[in-house]
């Protein structure tokens, strides 16, 4: 009787075991289609201030406490960041992101991903980090993106602008 119960327990545990074993790996998750590559934009950048610094007059300085008499009055708010991505002549992303912080004086950031067909692509990235005027950063490249490959577009102002990295 005891042996029968143990056998019955084994038979009942078997489907539980199979259930856990199977669903811990199956069905496989499709990350990207076999004929596609991925373009990612990931950037963080503190844009220029929205207003130019202004030189305080002597009268204005005299009104301020001695320890706060800075010659320049610089409003903290930064301009929004406008980013545009063009692939093979078509604009696939055009986004304006606000600076972080209650006073809008922090860095603006953007993360965006776009699957594209694997193959050769002409990619243009543009960025404007000032209140007015045309895009002031631009990078263009023609790249071969392998199936499953990823292109990472970063922005490093210290290195002169956009940075394209791919496998």
């Amino acid at each position: 009787m005891a042996a029968l119960r143990i056998l019955a327990q084994l038979l009942l545990y078997l489907p539980l075991m199979a259930l856990i074993g199977v669903f811990s790996t199956w069905p496989r998750l499709a990350v990207i289609a076999p004929d596609q590559a991925l373009v990612r934009i990931s950037l963080i950048h503190a844009a220029q201030r929205k207003q130019e610094c202004r030189t305080r007059s002597a009268e204005e300085l005299a009104k301020l406490p001695p320890n706060m008499r800075a010659a320049l009055d610089c409003p903290r708010e930064r301009a929004p960041l406008t980013v545009e991505l063009e692939i093979d002549g078509r604009v696939v992303l055009s986004r304006t992101v606000s600076p972080a912080g209650f006073r809008r004086d922090g860095a603006a950031s953007l993360y965006y991903r776009l699957p594209v067909a694997a193959g050769r692509h002409r990619i243009v990235a543009r960025l404007r980090d000032r209140a007015d005027g045309p895009f002031n950063y631009r990078r263009e490249a023609t790249l071969e993106l392998a199936p499953g490959g990823a292109l990472l577009i970063d922005f490093l102002a210290a290195k002169g602008g956009f940075d394209f990295r791919s496998s």
Partner: protein, 525 residues
């Protein structure tokens, strides 16, 4: 509610079906919470070994786990696989436990604390498991970490996108791995703390799995580990994506769900589900039970009721005006009105010589005085018979005992068999019954968790108040039968009657009410 009833019915059917093979004590469906506790300890034990061998660096993490899986497959590989499958089984047991408790209505009133305190555990469980997958630092970790970061970034609370940490090789450093390891230890520790809180309003919680259940669960994990070892995906490479990955659907199902919808939708689903679960006890409170009351004049502070209360509703507090005395206090919101405290009270005995009985703790609508009056009326009804007279003490939630009543069988029903002070059995046998039949809920189905268990221990002399040794056990039967098993109940009554017929009438031992019982009730216990 119809859905809850249907699911509850399905659970009950499955539990009873599995009882045949496992027995109620080792039945995994009847012990889902206990099983989750056991799996947590399996995770902790296997996790310690994995952490000892784990290299917490970007360069070494993947390689150290690969070495463990391939070069030491017979130990490290098995431990890794058991860790993986125990985590999945933990999720499955926890979610089933949640559904089971909801379907049975065990989330409201005196159960609300356990229910609500269980909700954060779901978040901690998933957070612990998801971070665990990142430690492997393979393509699956990459997908999971990035998806989680995107989800958190969607709150707008992150100073800069967390996703940036996982898109380029230069942004991932050894310190990030130290953070992962810290989280994978800290979160489970928080989970354990939460599990401890979760059972605080449960009297005698079953947090240790019976040996049979623990052995079977461990064997199942080992077999799964040997047949289907856990493996890593391709190494993490931010510039190369795999077409597909193996996904653990128990723990990581939220990533494809977010991919198919959006981070905002996933927040709405998880946040909405959390709020709904937390609000459920208030939304569907159900009827308020009539709580037990304490009579300080009859309470000697013995604390049996505090120990036996299944929901920690009875506390021991200093007696007012007495320097060293103690008395019990009932927290009405926690009281299930099961009467187990009354069954445990030494002053709850019908032998006391006072004309109007009053116990130290009792149920206002079913007190010991009413119970004695009902018992005496029941005994009077069968007094004309000459032999085979049976008094049936029946739980209202168990098999319906009303059909047993006849010229030689009288019924005293109660809301839980644990409400029955054993002295009532002795009283009945002295005052006209030849035998007593106790009807409890089917094993594992006590509405108040431990009523049948406490009664069995009291009858066996293992728990106070005991049924005295002088009470003839051959005149006593206890059966555990659920509604729908009335035929078995009739058979049990008939079997007892045959035994009683063979034994003859019970001897009348002493006068019904005894002054010594009064002294015992007031001072001894």
């Amino acid at each position: 509610m119809a859905a809850a009833n249907a699911i509850d019915g399905a659970f009950v059917a499955a539990e009873r079906g599995l009882d045949a093979a496992f027995g109620a004590r080792a039945n995994p469906l009847r012990n889902l919470g206990t099983l989750a506790f056991f799996l947590f300890w399996v995770l902790a034990a296997t996790g310690i070994y994995l952490f000892i061998t784990f290299d917490t660096s970007v360069e070494g993490a993947y390689a150290s786990i690969e070495a463990l899986t391939t070069k030491q497959w017979w130990l490290g590989g098995v431990v890794r696989s058991v860790h993986r499958y125990a985590a999945d089984a933990f999720v499955a047991a926890t979610l089933l436990h949640l559904v089971r408790e909801w379907a049975a209505g065990r989330y409201r009133r005196f159960r609300a604390f356990s229910w609500i305190s269980g909700v954060p555990l779901l978040w901690l469980m998933y957070a612990s498991g998801i971070v665990g997958y990142w430690l492997v630092w393979d393509a699956r970790a990459q997908i999971s970490a990035l998806a989680t970061a995107q989800w958190l970034d969607a709150t707008g609370l992150t100073a800069e996108p967390m996703a940036r940490n996982f898109v380029g090789a230069e942004s991932v450093g050894d310190r990030l791995f130290s953070l992962f390891a810290f989280l994978h230890i800290g979160l489970p520790l928080a989970l354990l703390g939460g599990m401890w809180i979760h059972v605080q309003r449960i009297g005698q919680p079953r947090t240790v799995a019976p040996r049979a259940l623990a052995s079977a669960a461990l064997a199942m994990l080992l077999v799964a580990a040997l047949l289907h070892p856990a493996t890593s995906q391709a190494p993490w490479d931010p510039l190369q994506l795999p077409a597909t990955i193996e996904l653990d659907w128990f723990l990581l199902f939220m990533h494809p769900l977010m991919e198919a919808t959006s981070p905002a939708v996933l927040w709405a689903l998880t946040g909405g589900a959390t709020l709904l679960l937390v609000a459920l006890p208030a939304l569907l409170p159900g009827p308020k039970p009539v709580a037990a009351v304490v009579d300080p004049a009859n309470c000697n502070g013995c604390a049996r009721c505090t120990v036996d209360c299944p929901y920690q509703a009875v506390l021991l507090v200093p007696a007012p005006g007495v320097r060293t005395g103690r008395q019990v206090e009932v927290i009405a919101d926690r009281c299930a009105a099961c009467g187990l405290c009354a069954g445990a009270c030494p002053s709850s005995t019908p032998f006391r010589s006072t004309e109007t009985l009053a116990a130290g703790i009792d149920m206002p609508d079913a007190d010991v005085q009413r119970q004695r009056v009902k018992l005496e009326a029941a005994l009077a009804r069968i007094a004309q018979a000459t032999a085979g007279r049976i008094i049936v003490f029946a739980c209202a939630e168990a098999a319906n005992a009303a059909a047993l009543e006849d010229a030689r069988t009288a019924l005293l029903d109660m809301r839980c068999i644990g409400m029955l002070p054993p002295s009532f059995i002795e009283y009945a046998l002295r005052a006209g019954a030849d035998g007593a039949l106790l009807v409890a809920c089917r094993e594992g189905e006590c509405r108040y968790r431990i009523g049948a268990e406490l009664t069995a221990q009291r009858l066996a002399g293992e728990r106070q108040p005991i049924l005295r040794k002088s009470v003839p056990r051959e005149r006593l039967r206890m059966v555990a039968l659920a509604a729908g098993e009335e035929d078995d109940l009739v058979a049990a009554r008939d079997a007892l009657r045959r035994a009683l017929d063979a034994l003859g009438p019970a001897p009348r031992l002493r006068p019904k009410r005894d002054a010594s019982a009064e002294r015992t009730a007031r001072g001894h216990a």
